[in-house]
């Protein structure tokens, strides 16, 4: 089955990342790269997103589309990236996600067949 892992960053996580020295931050990125390599056989693609301050939201309605600055929900938790994976079932996706060394929140969404 195919799933998308939505990686979600929290304010606290962002603060922690900013507080890191360059060497420490490199090690953090290194751990993420290692995770990607370990799970390469299951990963079908994905990307890191630019920060939520770069987001633009368009709301379509009856009249003209309303264009606003920012993500569609203003919140303390924002999607910061996604990875598409192909695994046997939800348990395998869960197992994979448990070792994720990055942001503290992940949403697992199955893709429509």
């Amino acid at each position: 089955m195919k799933y998308v892992l939505l990686f979600v960053e929290t304010e606290e996580f962002e603060r922690d990342l900013e507080a890191m020295g360059p060497a420490e931050r490199d090690r953090a990125y290194q751990r993420v790269m290692e995770w990607m390599t370990t799970n390469a056989d299951k990963i079908r693609g994905g990307n890191k997103l630019q920060g939520s301050e770069t987001a633009t939201t368009v709301r379509l309605g009856d009249g003209e589309p309303v264009i606003t600055d920012g993500p569609f929900v203003e919140g303390k938790e924002v999607v910061s990236g996604y990875t598409e994976i192909e695994v046997a079932d939800l348990d395998e996706a869960l197992r994979m996600v448990k070792t994720w060394p990055g942001c503290p929140l992940i949403e697992i969404r199955p893709l429509e067949p």
Binding site: M1, D89, D91, R95, P110
Partner: protein
């Protein structure tokens, strides 16, 4: 139908519903379809058996109904039809696959209410109506909950299997939590209309099944012992007028000593595996009460010690409350009260917190404050038996 006849029917359905689900699951490979067919067969049984009698081979009867329904249903879209048509009862499973069924129903990706409803329907063979009545929820709400859960199992790829060793501990604790919740729901319920389902009985049966399927898991044995120890004292819990009788006032000669001895044996066996856990500890605490011939002989030192261990494993304000109640009998009401004062912010909305405070306040000679605490407890509980006992206190003291 009389209560015993009703219980026997429920028991027969329960003994076979899960097995039928497993057999259908193997043919269709689809949880939702298997679940629907089981429910159809159970409904048919509840319709026919009360008047026609329970058939000699209830499992074959249920299977035949399910198969007929399936063949009708699959006539058009029919990938299972051929396989089903060939299927004969009994379908002998190599091993009891009901464990897979239980773990799927209690998967952590499902909400707790969904886990409970699914387990009751698929593993225990309850109807949607019976579940709705037991939880005082509208039938449509339960039906919706089950439909949504089944859709999620299919769409999100929730597997039908026993978790691997490294996941087993956390997944098993989900299953145990579901059974324990069911038990509490049934045990606290006071209505016993002949048609209403005794969830405590279902919880007892489920824990027994799980213990049979996983005999080396000490926490499973612990939960089973806990449930059996509570139920062994059920006869003494309600007076002739149906009013709740609290532990100190219970007639202990009504306790089922044989059941208590068996549960303690079960617990002792589990303890030999040297993997203590919250259910074993809770069972050990209940065992302390069950072993005391009189209330005055309760081994409170041991009980406080067990609560300390329980708090170490699973810290919770409610456990601290129970420990504080035990403290009253070891180091006194004053110290217990100090513990309770500490818990006020965490448990301010919990009726037993206020009811316990009331008891301590009375022991400390503060009847006015005790009344106020009982009043608060009364405002916070919906349970009629507990309400009755609080009313009594307010009227008498």
């Amino acid at each position: 139908m009389t209560r015993p006849a009703h219980d026997r029917l429920a028991g027969v359905v329960r003994d076979h519903a899960g097995q039928l689900a497993v057999a259908l699951m193997r043919v269709t490979g689809d949880f939702a379809t298997a679940e629907d067919l089981v429910q159809d067969a159970v409904l048919a049984a509840l319709q026919h058996w009360p008047t026609e009698g329970i058939p000699e081979k209830p499992d074959a009867w249920l299977f035949t109904v399910a198969k007929r329904r399936a063949l009708d249903g699959f006539r058009r879209a029919d990938n299972y039809r051929a396989k089903l048509a060939l299927l004969q009862w009994p379908v002998q499973p190599a091993e009891d696959e009901r464990l897979q069924l239980i773990f799927t129903c209690c998967h952590p990706a499902l909400s707790r209410p969904a886990q409970i409803a699914l387990t009751l329907r698929v593993v225990c063979g309850l109807t949607t109506e019976q579940i709705a009545r037991a939880f005082l929820v509208r039938e449509t709400a339960i039906a919706r909950r089950i439909t949504r859960a089944k859709r999620k199992i299919t769409d999100a790829g929730i597997p039908y299997r026993v978790p691997a060793d490294d996941e087993l501990a956390s997944r098993l604790s989900e299953v145990l939590a579901v059974i324990y919740l069911l038990f509490n729901e049934g045990y606290l319920a006071t209505t016993s209309a002949p048609q209403s389902r005794d969830l405590a009985e279902d919880a007892d049966w489920l824990a027994g099944l799980l213990h049979q399927l996983m005999p080396t898991e000490p926490e499973v044995a612990g939960l089973l012992a806990l449930i059996r120890l509570h139920r062994a004292r059920a006869q003494a819990r309600f007076g002739v007028d149906g009013a709740l009788v609290l532990l100190p006032d219970q007639d202990r000669s009504l306790w089922d000593q044989q059941a208590i001895a068996e549960a303690i044996r079960l617990l002792t066996g589990a303890a030999l595996r040297k993997r203590p856990g919250p259910y074993q500890l809770q069972a050990a605490i209940v065992a302390c009460h069950a072993e005391a011939v009189r209330w005055e002989e309760t081994d409170w030192e041991q009980i406080v010690l067990l609560y300390d261990m329980l708090l170490h494993l699973t810290p919770s304000p409610v456990t601290r409350l129970h420990r504080a109640i035990a403290l009253r009998y070891t180091i006194g009401a004053q110290a217990a009260m100090a513990e309770l004062d500490d818990l006020g912010s965490a448990l301010g909305d919990y009726h037993l917190y206020h009811a316990s405070r009331a008891e301590l306040l009375r022991a400390l000679g503060q009847p006015e404050q005790a009344r106020a605490a009982d009043q608060r407890a009364l405002e916070l509980t919906n349970n009629p038996a507990e309400q009755a006992i609080l009313h009594q206190r307010l009227a008498w003291r």
